[in-house]
Symmetry: C2
Subunit: 94 residues, 2 copies
């Protein structure tokens, strides 16, 4: 394994686990006012497409990295939509 592959795997690890602190924070605080539902919806679709891409290419790192990131992103999006439409959290005004 050369240094470029190590670089790619390290990058994949960072962008996969990046959503963990945000998922923990929204679950603990139930506050999502500053979060953009549009951003997390687009991100969720993108990560799902990357997962399908990983399956199509038989590329395990791409598949694993993105399916975990998509799951975390799905949790954040779920809590955001629950706060916005179920518990009636007010959005931040400009």
């Amino acid at each position: 394994m050369d240094y470029i592959e190590i670089l790619g795997l390290t990058a994949a690890l960072f962008t996969t686990v990046a959503n963990i602190p945000q998922a923990v924070k929204v679950i603990k605080t139930r506050s999502t006012k500053s979060l953009s539902a549009a951003s997390y919806t687009i991100l969720f679709i993108g990560l799902t497409l990357w997962t399908v891409y990983g399956i199509s290419r038989n590329d395990l790192p791409v598949l694993l990295g993105n399916v975990i990131a998509a799951a975390l992103c799905g949790i954040i999006l779920g809590v955001k939509l629950w706060c916005k439409y179920v518990s009636g959290e007010k959005e931040e005004s400009a």
Copy 2:
């Protein structure tokens, strides 16, 4: 260009532009209480590593997609740190 390459480029487009609505929201509202500084720091490092990976591999889509996403993520992280340490925004408590 086969359908798998189109799938990959579409996924890259989604995960690149995903941060635009969030960047616009934090700039307009100056509210970042619900955002996790740890998440955006880890994401910024990861996207920067992916950019270096794209340069090392001479892979333009990986380079372009990630340098744009890193710039957007950097803006969000900058506003978050400014709100937290300069303008004294209180964090959400659990």
